[in-house]
């Protein structure tokens, strides 16, 4: 037993950091920037705390190559409702970063395919922008983004910017047709066949979206004989503590807050609760 003294800092104690920028991205999603460096890796998340309201796990959306960090907040409940009322200058409690993040080293030199559904793009963006800032280290990039409705699209400026980068292709679709939209209509899986010049079986495929999306994307990748080693999924779970104690995020033997939320699909073979 460790005899550390009791004045040790609590793992549940958040640190206050001011919000420096907010912007509504659409009706339900809010962008936030905090000038607060937490030394994260792409794919990690923080626990956002508002004293009196509660905590919520929120992905870090920006690359560690930029100062501070970005979040995108969907209005879904107690904490996120209040976050939506906040403005630049207001303070948020932050714990973290938590989680394992993306396996950057092994992605180096490879072609990468990002399959994103809705705000699944949010955590993926932390990796995408890291790649943009270290472009030479990575191969070709395909970014597939599917959104339910036109009005719910997020980060469209950025999708455009990425599309202009050498060796990067951005494919976008929406589920329901819309007058102002002349791009692809249909679910995100319909984009997979449109990827140009990337051998999916050799690429690293990274998936993040609503729980239901994984099954379908994985089915298509299965047909394309992509090995499970080359697929990474980013999973959501209920979380209370973020530090592997409270038990809520557990799927079979894994604590998502510690060993996830990014998993190599082949590592989930014995984790039937994962997908």
């Amino acid at each position: 037993m460790c005899d550390c003294n009791s004045t040790e800092k609590s793992i549940y104690l958040p640190e206050l950091a001011p919000i420096t920028k907010v912007a509504m991205m659409n009706e339900t999603e809010m962008y936030m920037h905090l000038d607060h460096d937490i030394g994260h890796k792409p794919g990690q998340f923080v626990e956002v705390s508002i004293a009196g309201i509660g905590e919520a796990p929120i992905s870090i959306s920006s690359s560690p190559t930029e100062a501070g960090f970005d979040m995108v907040i969907r209005k879904a409940g107690r904490v996120t409702d209040i976050m939506h009322q906040m403005q630049a200058g207001d303070k948020l409690g932050i714990r973290g970063p938590f989680g394992s993040g993306y396996p950057i080293d092994e992605m180096k030199g490879k072609d990468l395919v990002f399959v994103c559904g809705g705000i699944g793009l949010v955590p993926q963006r932390s990796m995408i922008n890291y790649i943009m800032d270290n472009r030479a280290d990575f191969g070709k990039i395909a970014i597939l983004q599917g959104t339910k409705e036109f009005a719910q699209r997020i980060y469209h400026d950025e999708l455009e910017r990425w599309a202009g980068v050498d060796g990067v292709q951005v494919l976008e679709t929406i589920d329901v047709a819309h007058d102002s939209w002349n791009g692809n209509v249909g679910v995100v899986t319909t984009l997979i066949d449109k990827i140009d010049g990337i051998d999916l079986t050799k690429a690293v495929n990274l998936i993040c979206g609503p729980p239901i999306m994984y099954k379908f994307v994985l089915m298509v990748l299965q047909e394309k004989e992509v090995s499970h080693e080359n697929i990474f999924v980013n999973l959501e779970r209920r979380m209370k503590c973020g530090v592997g104690k409270c038990g809520h995020c557990q799927m079979n033997g894994q604590y998502v807050c510690q060993s996830g939320p990014v998993y190599r699909y082949s590592d989930l073979a014995n984790i039937p609760e994962a997908i």
């Binding site: 005899d3 009791s6 549940y12 104690l13 958040p14 206050l16 004293a51 104690k245 809520h248």
Partner: protein, 351 residues
């Protein structure tokens, strides 16, 4: 360190002097209000209240390290938070071996990876006096789980050599040694006493066996490896109330919920954690009302996998069911007994 012998009177005055000291003393008492003779840990006012011949307590002594509800932080609403750590010193008297082993497991879980100072501070401030079992409870199966005797974690181990007339007390820590030294009239235990103690412990290893697991606990992990789709989960969970009593009475369950409370001034409040249970319907519910363990059987299975497989991988292979039998008695539809489930699996599967 020393092994002493305390006769009844010496033992009584030893307990009374602890009570008279500046430390709080909690021990096993007969529950006054209940109609049956059930037992519970509670503050001792005098040595006579202490019942070391108890069978099992209603809930385990983990409530002193991980209280039903505790404050983690105090805060200004939407502002600064301060950590709240309870530093009260406590002597905990009468912890049975299986409960001690559960505490040892929890110590490991709360200190590994991220150190939980709230749990660990409480833990480090507790002096534990463990005691060997004298009366087997109705559902105990410590023999099967290899938890009938305990070797570490406590400060002093007491063994009743017969009807509370004589005790052997062994201190294994500095804290324990210092405390035992306050029993000034205690004599050194001789070889005969120690032999008697061994006989009692050996007997317990065999006799705390109201249910018998048909394999070694170490084999559970590989048994469960093959049991995920077994029909037993649905068979049993059909009558599960999702009441979580199997969690709330379990000495090795430690999942918790966290909630923020606010005072009437609406300006300050506290963040509290309280016991949760993986059998409760909403345990794995997330926004959008998506429930990752929606089916009763998946929650029922999760608990038995946690005990037999998941937690063991975190704590060096030890099985996280210590055979106290509490869940067996607590489950109204009588489906929670881990031995019954594991044995049912063993009928069909070879570990």
């Amino acid at each position: 360190m020393s092994i002493k012998k305390l006769n009844k009177d010496v033992f009584k005055s030893f307990v009374d002097s602890m009570i008279a000291s500046d430390q709080s003393v909690v021990g096993v008492k007969e529950k006054v209000q209940a109609k049956g003779n059930k037992f519970a840990f509670g503050p001792l006012e005098n040595a006579d209240q202490l019942r070391l011949d108890y069978d099992v307590t209603l809930i385990p002594p983990k409530k002193y390290m991980l209280p039903q509800t505790e404050t983690l932080l105090t805060y200004e609403v939407k502002g600064e938070s301060k950590q709240h750590v309870d530093e009260q010193k406590l002597i905990l008297v009468g912890v049975h071996p299986y409960d001690m082993i559960a505490i040892n497991q929890m110590d490991e879980l709360f200190s590994q990876d991220e150190y939980d100072t709230h749990y660990m501070t409480r833990r480090n401030n507790i002096t534990v006096i463990a005691c060997d079992v004298v009366n087997a409870s109705e559902n105990i199966f410590a023999s099967s789980m290899e938890t009938a005797v305990v070797e570490k974690g406590f400060d002093i181990l007491l063994t009743d050599l017969g009807k509370g007339k004589e005790y052997v007390a062994e201190a294994i820590t500095e804290k324990g040694e210092a405390l035992l030294a306050t029993a000034v009239d205690a004599t050194d235990a001789d070889d005969k006493d120690i032999a008697k103690r061994s006989a009692i412990q050996e007997a317990n290893k065999k006799d705390l066996d109201k249910h018998t697991l048909n394999c070694k606990p170490s084999e559970l992990s590989s048994l469960l490896e093959q049991a995920y789709e077994h029909p037993v989960w649905e068979e049993k969970a059909k009558t599960c109330f999702s009441c979580g009593s199997c969690n709330t009475t379990c000495p090795t369950c430690y999942c918790f919920d966290v909630q923020d409370l606010v005072n009437w001034n609406l300006k300050d409040g506290q963040r509290e954690r309280s016991w949760d249970g993986c059998l409760l319907k909403d345990f794995a519910n997330v926004a959008g009302d998506h429930n990752f363990r929606k089916q009763k059987e998946s929650r029922f299975r999760h608990r038995l996998y946690r005990k037999g497989k998941y937690v063991p991988t975190k704590i060096g292979g030890q099985v996280a069911c210590v055979g106290c039998g509490r869940c067996v008695g607590a489950c109204v539809p009588d489906i929670a007994n881990p031995v019954a489930v594991y044995n049912r699996l063993l009928e069909d599967i070879k570990p």
